[in-house]
Symmetry: C2
Subunit: 281 residues, 2 copies
Amino acid sequence: MEIIRVPKMMREITKNLKIKSKTIAFVPTMGALHEGHLSLIKRAKDENDITVVSIFVNPIQFAPGEDYEKYPRDIDKDCEKLKNIEIDYLFLPDVNSLYPNGYSTYINVENLSDKLCGKFRPNHFRGVATIVCKLFNIVNPNRAYFGQKDYQQTLIIKKMVEDLNIDVEIIVCPTIREKDGLAMSSRNSYLNEIERKSATVIYKCLKEGEKLLKAKINPSEVSERIQNILKKEPVIKEIQYAGVFDPFTLEELKELKDVCLIAIAVKIGETRLIDNLLVNL
Amino acid sequence: MEIIRVPKMMREITKNLKIKSKTIAFVPTMGALHEGHLSLIKRAKDENDITVVSIFVNPIQFAPGEDYEKYPRDIDKDCEKLKNIEIDYLFLPDVNSLYPNGYSTYINVENLSDKLCGKFRPNHFRGVATIVCKLFNIVNPNRAYFGQKDYQQTLIIKKMVEDLNIDVEIIVCPTIREKDGLAMSSRNSYLNEIERKSATVIYKCLKEGEKLLKAKINPSEVSERIQNILKKEPVIKEIQYAGVFDPFTLEELKELKDVCLIAIAVKIGETRLIDNLLVNL
């Protein structure tokens, strides 16, 4: 595994590999790698000649007061995991090389960015779209891999790629879960023991919602029942959203559709957790 | 010359040429080609293996009430000129292929886009940045050529390319002028005979401003003198801006710098004309 820190060097490497007709896989991450990330990387390796993973905690997708400073960073442990899984390149840029003084260009995917998480995280998806576009321009991959846990993010990235004619195939991989159902997330490390145990309620709600939808219960009622379960859990300090949504527009569903998205965002203590499930009817 | 209308076909063509290590030049235009465009194309041909010209009147850079509908379009004449000059590919997409229903991704280069023309053309540079990024992603050129007449546009595109790590070299070519100094522009065709004659005052102001700056006259006074000349010209219905600006920030200059930008935007009758001059001191 080679570690590349300079954007222009990263670009030259993949450019030369593409001239040799190698296919490039790209897995952008913010580090603190867990089994979810590793599952993306394994799939990326399986489907391509060369695998590039980036680790970059992107400041412009955090709002003031969010957890940019305390976001978990453990580059040594991450490197060990990446070496074990045998990737080709780790792209590890610093903040100044991607956002030098005077940086001022932003990409906005309208409509989708204002829904769900976008309501609670101002400019979050603008930051996500911008960094992903930048990284794509640097790494120039054939395929890029994202986890379904960040469903709205995958939808916005696919929309950006389509709208801006970016020549990258976006591949969304299943959410990886702990044994008790909690979706893997770097932010799970923030939870204390009690919070960690209670956090399983999120997945329970998703599965309960799935059961109800399959029983043809109306989406509005399903949303209400999910919220009632969450409200009974004392460690949940805030329910940001919890319900049944259109998987393409992210609007609240009033009637059943062929595919329904159940999505939840809650604060457990100070920790914001999200999860979702696509239900085929 | 081959005419390509489908974005994916255009992309495949240049992708294959790049694998063969051909250098691709790209000249994006809105058609109604004049000597200014042709000078860009000649330079593009000289410096690269393959030359791609696009003609696309980009709806999202026109505000409501501007001249999108009546913008001059003469594709037959344009094709003839391009065949004569012997380019390789004309990319001629239709509006629906670039902005299908539900299109929603926009690129904003903050700060620079609000200055000068940006004050009078809401969302204009957002539209410019977005279409140029799209076209770059489709054509994937090594170098792209723009005229200095649209100075602010060139600055914004260079900033976008730098900020988003786009792998294209931006080359800005000198403004081409009529014998009497009027900058070539597709919009000159809107002018009636009297307006056309009076329009030369713009270049006269630029040259007068240059003379004054070289005589070390303070920029604020130079701006005032230019505006006074323009005010005396009865066909000028509106002076949107006219003065001396910082060529990097586009802020009004209070003191002389090594390089000063004199820039003017006026309405002659219903026709909006812009021009500029860089003055090295």
